[in-house]
């Protein structure tokens, strides 16, 4: 082991050092600096995109024990074993690991860790060469890989089953089953159906789900010969709604009954829109009202007015704060994910059905694993929770 001495920069310190030198044998040891670090290892940092080297060591015998003299560890790096070491940084005492994020991939490096007490430094032997590089596979994400494969496998398997004509059971959603009933009520009463697709634009997934359900409702109104009014608060939503309704009317062979004037843009303003829709409710007295999409504070204003007109109301939103208002003021409410599941439920398309079923099973499996992990952790076994969080056992 080599010891690289260092001249004290200040005279006072030098004098104190001389004075202390003669006092005792123990003090004599202090002159040669703290004990060096041991077991120094430098490796390419795993599971990264390159450009970093991980250096680990066992701390000095004088760090937290012995002379208690270690103040920190100096990291030195060179591209040659014997010379050219440059100071990288100093890490505090007690630390046993450092990541050098300044390496160039493909270049070999050597490292020395010097234990320092503020005056002297005792260096380790150089370690290396070590070369940083990018990894193709992040082993810490093995858990995610398994989850992805499992989920995809389930989805594909269920899609395949659905395509083969196997019946996939989906829990009946009362709100969706009531679509026919609501449109039927409007038909018997000779009044229109009002469809409110929320106040957000087409970049909101809830609005998209709302437009998908609008297609189904429009098919029914076309079959029953009942007018369908769709007020929108965004111009893009109006265009999308018009296209959807037009297609629905074509699908059931009633293109003549399609009236684009009933799908209107009101205003982008939240409460201006709410006031406009309320006015329609009071004037037109629709017998069935649908609220499907993203809603904010206007939800209760709309739902209460609709209820007072005696309409059957079916709402669906993933906005948790608005759900209680819809539940109490509407006949049926699609809660959160039910809104997104609606398109699969209504269309019975194998692709959508299989995806829905696969995702549900995936969720069920993950919930079971989380529960198991919690139970094991409660009894002091952390391997499952560790694996879930870090991907390594």
């Amino acid at each position: 082991m080599r010891r690289y001495g260092r001249r004290a920069p200040y005279a006072t310190e030098f004098i104190i050092g001389i004075l202390l030198l003669g006092t005792s044998a123990v003090q004599g040891e202090a002159l040669s600096g703290p004990a060096p670090v041991t077991q120094v290892v430098a490796i390419d940092k795993p599971n990264d995109s390159g450009g970093s080297v991980l250096i680990r060591w066992k701390r000095s015998a004088d760090d937290g024990a012995g002379m208690m003299s270690v103040k920190g560890y100096e990291i030195l790096r060179s591209v040659e074993r014997e010379k050219g070491y440059e100071h990288l940084t100093v890490v505090p005492a007690g630390v046993e690991e450092y990541v050098d994020n300044t390496t160039v991939d493909g270049t070999s490096y050597f490292y020395i860790i010097g234990a320092t007490d503020g005056v002297h430094r005792t260096d380790s032997d150089p370690v290396g060469p070590v070369m940083s590089s990018a990894q193709w596979f992040h082993q810490g994400r093995l858990n995610m890989l398994i989850a992805t494969v499992l989920l995809s496998g389930l989805v594909l398997w269920f899609i395949n089953r659905a395509k083969k004509g196997k019946k996939l059971y989906i829990r009946p959603i009362a709100g969706l089953q009531a679509v026919d009933e609501a449109v039927g009520r409007a038909t018997e009463m000779g009044r229109p159906v009002l469809y409110v697709p929320g106040i957000q634009d087409m970049d909101n997934i809830q609005t998209i789900a709302g437009i998908v359900i609008l297609g189904r409702v429009a098919e029914r109104t076309a079959q029953y010969g009942t007018p369908l009014i769709v007020p929108t608060s965004r111009s893009l939503v109006m265009t999308a709604a018009q296209e959807t309704v037009k297609e629905a009317y074509l699908n059931v062979g009633r293109p003549d009954a399609y009236n684009p004037d009933l799908i209107r843009y009101l205003t982008d303003d939240q409460f201006g829109y709410a006031a406009g829709v309320d006015g329609m409710m009071v004037r037109e007295k629709p017998a069935a009202i649908f609220y499907m999409g993203a809603f904010y504070a206007e939800s209760l204003i709309l739902a209460e007015t609709g209820h007072s007109t005696g309409a059957i109301q079916i709402a669906g939103t993933a906005m948790p704060a608005q759900l209680p208002f819809f539940v109490t003021a509407c006949d049926y409410t699609l809660i959160g994910e039910e809104l997104f599941a609606a398109s699969a439920y209504l269309s019975k398309e194998p692709l959508l059905l299989g995806s829905l079923k696969g995702q549900d099973w995936g969720k069920a499996i993950f919930i079971a694993i989380l529960l198991l992990g919690s139970i094991l952790a409660s009894f002091g076994h952390y391997f499952l929770s560790d694996w879930l969080t870090t991907g390594s056992l």
Partner: protein, 602 residues
Amino acid sequence: MEGEIRFILATDCGSTTTKAILIERRGEEYRLVVRGEAPTTVEAPFEDVTRGVLNAIREVEELAGRRILEGGEIIKPSKGPDEGVDIYVSTSSAGGGLQMMVAGVVKSMTGESAARAALGAGAIVMDVIASNDGRAPHQKVERIRRFRPDMILLSGGVDGGTVSHVAELAELIAAAEPRPRFGSGYSLPIIYAGNRDARGIVKERLGADTALEIVENIRPVLERENLGPARGKIHELFMEHVMAHAPGYRKLMSWTDVPIMPTPGAVGLLIELIAKRDGIEVIGVDIGGATTDVFSVFKEVFNRTVSANLGMSYSVSNVLAEAGVEKITRWIPFEVEEIGLRNTIRNKMIRPTTVPQNLQELLMEQAVAREALRLAFEQHKSMAVGLKGIQQERTISDVFEQTATGATLVDMMDLDMIVGSGGVLSHAPRRSQAALMMIDAFLPEGVTRLAVDSIFMMPQLGVLSTVHQQAATQVFDRDCLIRLGTCIAPVGLAEEDEPCMKLKVTLPSGEDVEREVRFGEMILIPLGVGEGADIVMDPVKEFDVGAGRGKVLKTTVEGGVVGIIVDARGRPLQLPERAELRMRKLKEWAMALDAYPRLDLW
């Protein structure tokens, strides 16, 4: 009028047989005296229904020793103790009964209400035409032309509701130019019971070419049904148009004191009356050769359905087709080849008046009957539903359980009584066979009384109830029903032989019968007709006998010719899948009820 009446004559003109009963007031109560029957004579060569009626009355005359006819006419009112009757009433299902088509705007709303009105009036509903039934207009027109109904009930729209849809339906009917089944020289009766705002346009479309009658809307608002006026008009038109044009009915109508009613309508009326009088929930079933009628009163709502293709003779092959061989063989406690079963069933269809010649044939017939009853009951449950399309009131507690409208009204746990009727039930060699068939088909839950109609006189009593309610109910209680006993069926599932209930029965003698009931067994506790017993049922926590899961129920049960039947086979009933085990269990259950002789030797 009721106080003066002593002798009552009632007939029911069925498709094949005309049945006559004579009722007499003895002291303070009315009792059945005799019953006579003769073949119905609507068809050629006679083509006069009154001939069969007179023949049946003659039999009554002979059996009762009373002179009722004089010169081919009924002597009315009665003259002294041995001559004449005070009232004569009749029902009829001859010539296929009353066959109707109904129309409504939305099939599950006014269409369904119209069907309920027609069924409740005793009609067979041949088709329901609706704006949303998915058929093209020409297909609907073709259906109306092909079926040739006796009558059409047109409904649609609430009052102040849609007019255009109703006008469209009226135009469809007008375009079909429907002709009635009987009589070529008269117009088809059409009852309009829809939106009052559309009356003008319906009159304009249909008034000229049909016998249009307008009554109150059957759905004035979606939240309420108003079937009475439409039903009343159906009965009236049945008499005026359909019956008046059937052979001999004009003469028969002149004899009767109240209008002739369609047979099922009269049965329904009686069942509704009894349910109302006793405040009970009832299911009645009449399994015939061609059709099976199911009646029910739940939550004070009367419903009737007719399964026009489920029966024990003409329609028996259809039962096989609908239920499938497996469903039928699951009730047969011996090995039977499929071809043998099919042949037995087909023989019954082409020779409808034959009866089983041996025990095997009887068991096969009763297996078919179970399935026919089960299927008819399934249909009934889907029709006996709450109103659809009504606004609901919600609270935040409904967040995860949003019940839909249109749920079935049939609740087997609330059911108090099942009344069976029809040859296979009323004429089963042992009454316990009828009880077992009804239990297997309807799967009653909790405590349910069982009864059969002894000689199928419910139709006559039904029509009689419109003119003399006291006589009808007294004869119904004393002579019509044969009380089989009470079925106790805990609801729940367990492993075979696991205890499911403790039972303590205090018999009229004061003797206590205590039993631990095990899952999968049937027990018979004898208790005679007219006797009652106090019973304490203590189910284990997975089972419910009517008070809730694991809760004790104390009640009084009625006896009957069979007794108290404890059915611990669980609900829903799951028969063993392995054939050998299933047959062993079927024999065990039948032997527990002493339903068949020497079954243990098989």
